[in-house]
């Protein structure tokens, strides 16, 4: 067991996947000679060669399209989209081509493509380089979506993504690159669709991913001093989603707050709440709350940007307000 950064865990996962399978190759803008603008791929071209770790032109359609064609011929491409926002430039390739190729051909092919995208707010990149756009893909069936928050999860989910025969989007959160965590000396792949109960609790369940997970934990720690016991659950993949673990947690705590780094419309958080209300209305002692980012583009100035993000204080306040009006099911 060693302590590594999230960035180092990503690098290790890519290196181990390249070493394990000759059909794996990496491509993207500035990922090879430069090692990536966030250095996730540092040193990989030197180790695995220019034929397997390739720099591309600034051409996101060409990058994603190439992964599709190569995967049809049996390769396992891993593409990097430098900022997740740039997925919009190649949305057709992801949503219309990659996601539907297998289905439209009646299952003649598999498209084992992994796309890694640098995600989220990390300090002043502005409205076009700070979004967490995983919600853009929720309504496109055919894509798996991984959202790791820790080094071990980043390692394990990337290994599973690359080995998976379906297309997978792996969102790597920029604000987490320098965060540290334990990684096993022989780290293992982590199955998709398995949530982690990060902190057990009995009064209320918070569901949070990526950079919102540490904030949810901070809020939970602060609330403990007020004798409020919060359970924090991280789904780790949005597609497939571990409804069982999240639903069971709600059944125990009977109160729910979902935290996401994106506006509420058409989002995983809103979808999760809708489904839990539909399926488990009797489990709620209070109305579920979605703590989301504001309904504006992401502003640049630090004061504006930080106010846009769900803060630890906002999360804690949502928990207090929810519990203040909760009526236990048994008395309802």
């Amino acid at each position: 067991m060693a302590e590594v950064t999230y960035r180092e865990a990503i690098n290790r996962a890519l290196a181990d996947a390249l070493a394990a399978d000759d059909s794996v190759f990496l491509l993207g803008e500035d990922i090879a000679a430069a090692g990536g603008v966030f250095k996730q791929t540092d040193g990989l071209q030197a180790r695995f060669g220019a034929e397997r770790v390739l720099d591309t032109p600034i051409s996101e359609q060409a990058i994603v399209g190439l992964t599709i064609g190569a995967s049809l011929q049996g390769l396992r491409p891993v593409a990097e989209i430098m900022f997740a926002d740039f997925a919009a430039v190649t949305y057709d390739q992801i949503a219309n081509q990659l996601a539907k190729y297998r289905y439209m051909t009646g299952g003649q092919v598999t498209v084992p493509v992994t796309i890694r995208l640098a995600n989220g707010v990390s300090g002043g990149f502005g409205a076009q380089h700070s979004q967490a756009p995983e919600n853009w893909f929720l309504n496109v069936v055919g894509l798996k979506i991984a959202v790791p928050a820790t080094p071990a999860d980043a390692y394990g989910l990337i290994r599973t993504a690359i080995a998976d025969d379906d297309p997978v989007l792996v969102f790597e959160h920029k604000a987490l690159f320098n965060t540290k965590g334990e990684l096993d000396d022989e780290p293992q792949a982590l199955p998709f669709g398995v949530a982690e109960i990060v902190r057990p609790g009995s009064d209320l369940t918070i569901v949070a991913t990526q950079a919102m997970r540490p904030r949810a934990l901070e809020a939970a720690a602060a609330l403990e001093a007020e004798s409020i016991s919060v359970e924090v659950v991280d789904p780790r993949t949005l597609v497939p989603f571990d409804h069982e673990t999240v639903g069971a947690s709600l059944d125990r705590t009977n109160n729910l707050v979902v935290v996401q780094e994106a506006p509420p419309g058409g989002s995983w958080g809103a979808t999760l709440i809708a489904r839990l209300v539909e399926e488990r209305l009797d489990s709620f002692d209070s109305a579920p709350v979605l703590v989301a980012a504001d309904e504006t583009p992401i502003p640049y100035a630090e004061s504006l940007e930080q106010a846009w993000l769900p803060s630890t204080e906002r999360i804690a306040a949502a928990v207090r307000e929810t519990l203040a009006v909760a009526v236990p099911v048994s008395q309802g």
């Binding site: 359609q61 399209g65 219309n96 439209m104 009646g106 003649q108």
Partner: protein, 326 residues
């Protein structure tokens, strides 16, 4: 060095190319009748008049080579060797169609013959074609990829990104622009500032040639030469095959925008008539040509009758083939 190219395939192969062109023609005529009657759903984009491009191109390939094409893709898919009845079956939405009824007219695919897909978002498959070609480079094999697209595809971003990367990485891909003079309903000059699409190759330091798309043997020769260069590591070629769409863009388009006399002039250069005339000059008897024609017509009629009898997919099958892994 590229291998020296033969100037024409053996006569027997040339006769088989005629058979393939005729099967595509009769196939498309049947599709047109069925769609006109409302017997088939969705839309369809017919290929009559362009058969020489698909047949000449696909016959220039070797075992293991692959092909992608557009939503006007019945011809190219059949030219690769997709069987007639399952191809009809897919257009009719039958469970035994090429894609089990999940794709339809615009998405005909048969990977067993190297037909990797028909693509309905204009220009989107050019980047995908690069990927198929990249796999040959990655594995150090000699397979090439043949990518058909229309003149209308050359004004969309994917075309430019794909040609740029293919040339940069010397990918073994042959880009064949079927210039049928119309992008959907608009004549090419209304949408495209260059008079010759092939001039765009220069922007990507790529070899480009404009060729007669109605001369099946000429197409075979030029695509064969481009394939030989690609196999030799010399990278991609852009070919502009001049041809003509004898029908409208899709089933709802009567093509009233054509100038007077244009269709008639192109019908005189019908690729099947041209090829039959060339075969006659090579000494093939009229009776032999008639037999090929009758054989193709009978094969299409039999496939049509067979496919029409097939059952629709069970509604529960809509959940299949979304995911590879459970």
């Amino acid at each position: 060095m590229a291998a020296k190219q033969a100037t024409a395939p053996p006569l027997e192969e040339q006769l088989d190319m005629l058979r393939s062109m005729l099967e595509i023609r009769f196939f498309e005529d049947e599709c047109q009748r069925l769609f006109a009657r409302g017997a088939v759903r969705g839309s369809t984009h017919l290929y009559q008049g362009q058969e020489a491009v698909a047949v000449g191109g696909c016959r220039a390939l070797r075992e293991g080579d692959t092909m992608t094409c557009t939503y006007r893709g019945h011809g190219a898919t059949l030219a690769m060797g997709a069987p007639l009845a399952p191809t009809f079956g897919e257009i009719f939405g039958k469970a035994r169609g090429l894609c089990k009824g999940k794709g339809g007219s615009m998405h005909l695919t048969d990977v067993t013959v190297g037909a990797l897909g028909s693509h309905a978002i204009v220009g989107a498959h050019l980047p995908i074609a690069n990927g198929a070609a990249f796999a040959s480079v990655y594995r150090k094999t000699e397979e090439v990829h043949l990518c058909f697209f229309g003149d209308g595809s050359t004004n969309i971003g994917g075309f430019h990104e794909a040609l740029n990367l293919a040339s940069l990485w010397k990918l073994p891909v042959i880009f064949v622009c079927e210039n049928n003079l119309y992008g959907e309903y608009s004549p090419i000059a209304l949408t495209t500032p260059v008079a010759r699409i092939v001039d765009r190759a220069a922007a990507y330091a790529m070899r480009g040639e404009q060729i007669d798309g109605n001369d099946v043997i000429g197409v075979w020769r030029e695509i064969g030469a481009a394939a030989a260069r690609a196999r030799a590591g010399e990278g991609p070629t852009l070919l502009e095959a001049m041809t003509y769409r004898q029908r409208g863009h899709s089933r709802t388009d009567p093509a009233t925008y054509r100038p007077d006399g244009e269709l008639e002039r192109w019908l005189e250069r019908d690729p099947i008539l041209l090829h039959e005339a060339a075969l006659r000059e090579s000494g093939v008897e009229d009776g032999q040509l008639a037999a090929v024609r009758a054989g193709a017509e009978a094969a299409v009629a039999a496939a049509l009758a067979e496919a029409l009898e097939w059952p629709e997919p069970d509604p529960e099958e809509r959940f299949d083939d979304v995911w590879a892994a459970a």
